[in-house]
C-alpha cells in the first residue's frame, strides 16, 4: 500500500510539472468541454420556453442545474487515453512503460488526476460564473453531496477502466479514430449530454440503462440534483459496480493478449 501511495505521489508530481508547461494549450482545449453543455442548455431552455415553461420534468432552472453539474462530472470523469494509446503503440513509446516494474495504468491514472487538479482552477470559476448567468435550481444537501462524491469517484474509475480497455484496441489496429468516434457518438446520447436521459425515446433509454455511459455521467448528475429515488440510487450503484468489475476483468484480458502482440518499432 505504502509502495503504491509513494509511486502515485511521484507520478502525480511529475505529471503536474509536465502539464504545467502546457497550461495555455490546456485552457484552450477546455473550451469545447465548457461550450458543449452551454449549447445544449440553451437549446433545451429555448424548447422549454416555446412549450410554455418545461420539457418533461425539467424547467429552464432545472436544465441549468443539470448542465452545470454535467459539465463538472464530465470534466472530472473524462479521459483522453483512447487518443494517446495508438500513438504510444505506433511510435513504440510503450516500451518505456513496459520497462517499469509497475502496471502502466497507474501512471495514466495519476496523470489524469494531476490534470483534473490543475484544470480545477478553470472549471470551478466557470461553474460559478454559469451559476450566476443561468440561475440554476440547485439545492445543496450535505448527505446528497456525500453520496454524489462516492458516485463520482466510482464513475471516474469505471470510465477510466473502460476507456483504457478500448484504448488497447490499438494493439490490433493502428487506426483508432473510427472506433473512438463511435464511442464518442454513443456517449453523446447515452451519457445524457445531448439531452437528459428521461427526454430520450424509450428504446434509447433502455440502451442507456444497459451500457456504462449513463452510469458514468448522467447518474451522478441526477443524483446531485436530487431527482432519483432511493431505489434508483441503489440500482445506479449496482450498475456502476458491475461495469467497474467488467472493466477490471477486460483490462486484465486485453492487456495480457495485447502485450504479447506488441513488438516495438525498430526492435
Amino acid at each position: 500500500m505504502k509502495y503504491y501511495t509513494a509511486t502515485y505521489w511521484a507520478f502525480f508530481k511529475t505529471s503536474l510539472l509536465e502539464q504545467f508547461q502546457y497550461r495555455a494549450a490546456m485552457a484552450i482545449w477546455m473550451i469545447g468541454r465548457i461550450l458543449e453543455p452551454i449549447i445544449y442548455l440553451t437549446v433545451w431552455t429555448t424548447v422549454a420556453q416555446t412549450r410554455g415553461g418545461s420539457v418533461g420534468s425539467y424547467s429552464p432552472a432545472d436544465f441549468a442545474a443539470y448542465y452545470i453539474v454535467l459539465m463538472l462530472v464530465n470534466q472530472f470523469t473524462f479521459s483522453w487515453i483512447m487518443h494517446t494509446y495508438d500513438f504510444r503503440i505506433r511510435q513504440g513509446e510503450l516500451s518505456n512503460f513496459l520497462l517499469k516494474p509497475i502496471h502502466p495504468i497507474h501512471a495514466d491514472i495519476a496523470e489524469n488526476i494531476a490534470y483534473k487538479v490543475m484544470t480545477a482552477v478553470i472549471i470551478f470559476p466557470t461553474a460559478i460564473l454559469l451559476f450566476f448567468l443561468f440561475e440554476p435550481n440547485l439545492a445543496f444537501h450535505i448527505q446528497t453531496f456525500a453520496v454524489f462524491l462516492l458516485a463520482l469517484g466510482l464513475a471516474f474509475i469505471m470510465r477510466f477502466f473502460i476507456e483504457w480497455t478500448l484504448a488497447l484496441i490499438a494493439f490490433w489496429t493502428t487506426r483508432n479514430e473510427a472506433i473512438n468516434q463511435m464511442y464518442f457518438t454513443l456517449g453523446l446520447f447515452l451519457s445524457g449530454r445531448i439531452a437528459p436521459i428521461d427526454l430520450l425515446p424509450d428504446a434509447i433509454q433502455t440502451l442507456a440503462n444497459a451500457l456504462p455511459f449513463r452510469w458514468a455521467v448522467a447518474f451522478p448528475v441526477e443524483l446531485m440534483l436530487g431527482r432519483l429515488s432511493q431505489e434508483q440510487i441503489l440500482n445506479g450503484f449496482t450498475m456502476q459496480a458491475l461495469w467497474l468489475l467488467a472493466g477490471f476483468l477486460l483490462i486484465q484480458l486485453t492487456w495480457r493478449l495485447g502485450v504479447k502482440k506488441y513488438s516495438a518499432v525498430g526492435s
Binding site: I28, G32, V43, T185, F189, P201
Partner: protein, 261 residues
C-alpha cells in the same frame, strides 16, 4: 487565370497524396456519415419535444445543418490544414521557400495543403441543404438564392480572414498552434441558430469568433428571414476583415527572419 491554374495544381497534389492512403477515404466517409447521423438524431430528439426552436422549424434547422457541414468541410479541406502548415513552416524556417516563389505568399500559404477527402463533408452538406430545400418545395426565388450566395461568400471570406489573422500571429509567437483549436471548438455552436444563445455568447460568436456570418446568416437567407441589416453587416465586415487581415499579414511578413538565418 494563373491563380486558378495554381489552385488546380495544388488540388491535384492533394489528390495524389491521398491516393497513397486509400483507406483514409473510407475512414473519412464513415466519420462524416457518423457525424451527419449524430446531428440528425440530435435534431430528431429536440424536435420530438417541440415544433419550433427559436422560431426555426425542423426543416430550416436541417438546412442550417447543411450549411454547417458545407462550411466546415471547406475549412477542414483547405483553410485549417494550410494554416497549420503555415505555422509549422514558419517555426521550422521552411517558409523561406514559399517566399522565394514568384507568386503572392499569402495566396500560396492559403492553399498549400488540401485534404481532399474532406470534400465528403462538403458534398454531404450540400446534399442535406438541397434535400431540405426540396422538402420545402423549392420555395426560394432568385432573390433569396442570390442573397444566399452573397452571404455565403462573404461569410466564407470572413472565416478565412479570421483564420489568417490567427495564423499570422505565428510570426511573433512561434508556438501557438493550439490557438487554431479555439475556432474548432467555437464552431460547434454554429450547428444551432445563433439567435437562441444568450447575449454574451451571441456577441462572441458574431464578432470575436465570427461563426454567425458563415452559418446562421446564409441559412437565414434561405428561409427568408434575412434582414437587410445582416446582409449589409456581412458585406462590410467581409471587406473590413479581408483588408485588415491582409495588412496584418504584411506586418507579420516583415517580422519574419527565417529560422536559421
Amino acid at each position: 487565370m494563373y491563380y486558378l491554374k495554381l489552385i488546380w495544381i495544388f488540388f491535384r497534389i492533394g489528390l495524389l497524396n491521398e491516393m497513397a492512403y486509400r483507406v483514409n477515404f473510407y475512414v473519412q466517409l464513415l466519420q462524416s456519415l457518423l457525424s451527419l447521423g449524430t446531428a440528425i438524431a440530435g435534431l430528431a430528439i429536440v424536435f420530438s419535444h417541440t415544433d419550433t426552436l427559436g422560431g426555426w422549424e425542423a426543416i430550416d434547422i436541417l438546412a442550417l445543418l447543411g450549411v454547417f457541414m458545407f462550411v466546415g468541410g471547406v475549412i477542414g479541406m483547405v483553410i485549417s490544414p494550410s494554416m497549420s502548415q503555415l505555422m509549422d513552416d514558419v517555426r521550422l524556417g521552411i517558409f523561406d521557400y514559399t517566399l522565394t516563389k514568384p507568386c503572392d505568399a499569402q495566396f500560396l500559404a492559403s492553399i498549400s495543403q488540401i485534404r481532399l477527402w474532406r470534400i465528403i463533408d462538403i458534398l454531404l452538406g450540400a446534399g442535406v441543404l438541397i434535400a431540405a430545400l426540396i422538402y420545402r418545395g423549392l420555395d426560394i426565388g432568385p432573390r433569396e438564392a442570390l442573397a444566399f450566395a452573397f452571404v455565403l461568400c462573404t461569410g466564407g471570406s470572413i472565416i478565412y480572414s479570421f483564420w489568417l489573422m490567427l495564423a499570422t500571429l505565428t510570426f511573433w509567437f512561434l508556438r501557438i498552434e493550439n490557438i487554431l483549436h479555439i475556432f474548432q471548438s467555437m464552431y460547434e455552436a454554429g450547428r444551432w441558430p445563433i439567435g437562441i444563445y444568450p447575449h454574451w455568447l451571441r456577441y462572441i460568436l458574431t464578432f470575436l469568433v465570427p461563426v454567425a456570418f458563415a452559418i446562421t446568416v446564409p441559412a437565414e437567407a434561405l428561409s427568408g428571414r434575412l434582414t437587410p441589416d445582416s446582409l449589409i453587416t456581412s458585406g462590410l465586415l467581409c471587406v473590413f476583415l479581408v483588408v485588415i487581415s491582409r495588412w496584418f499579414w504584411k506586418r507579420g511578413l516583415k517580422n519574419y527572419s527565417g529560422a536559421s538565418a
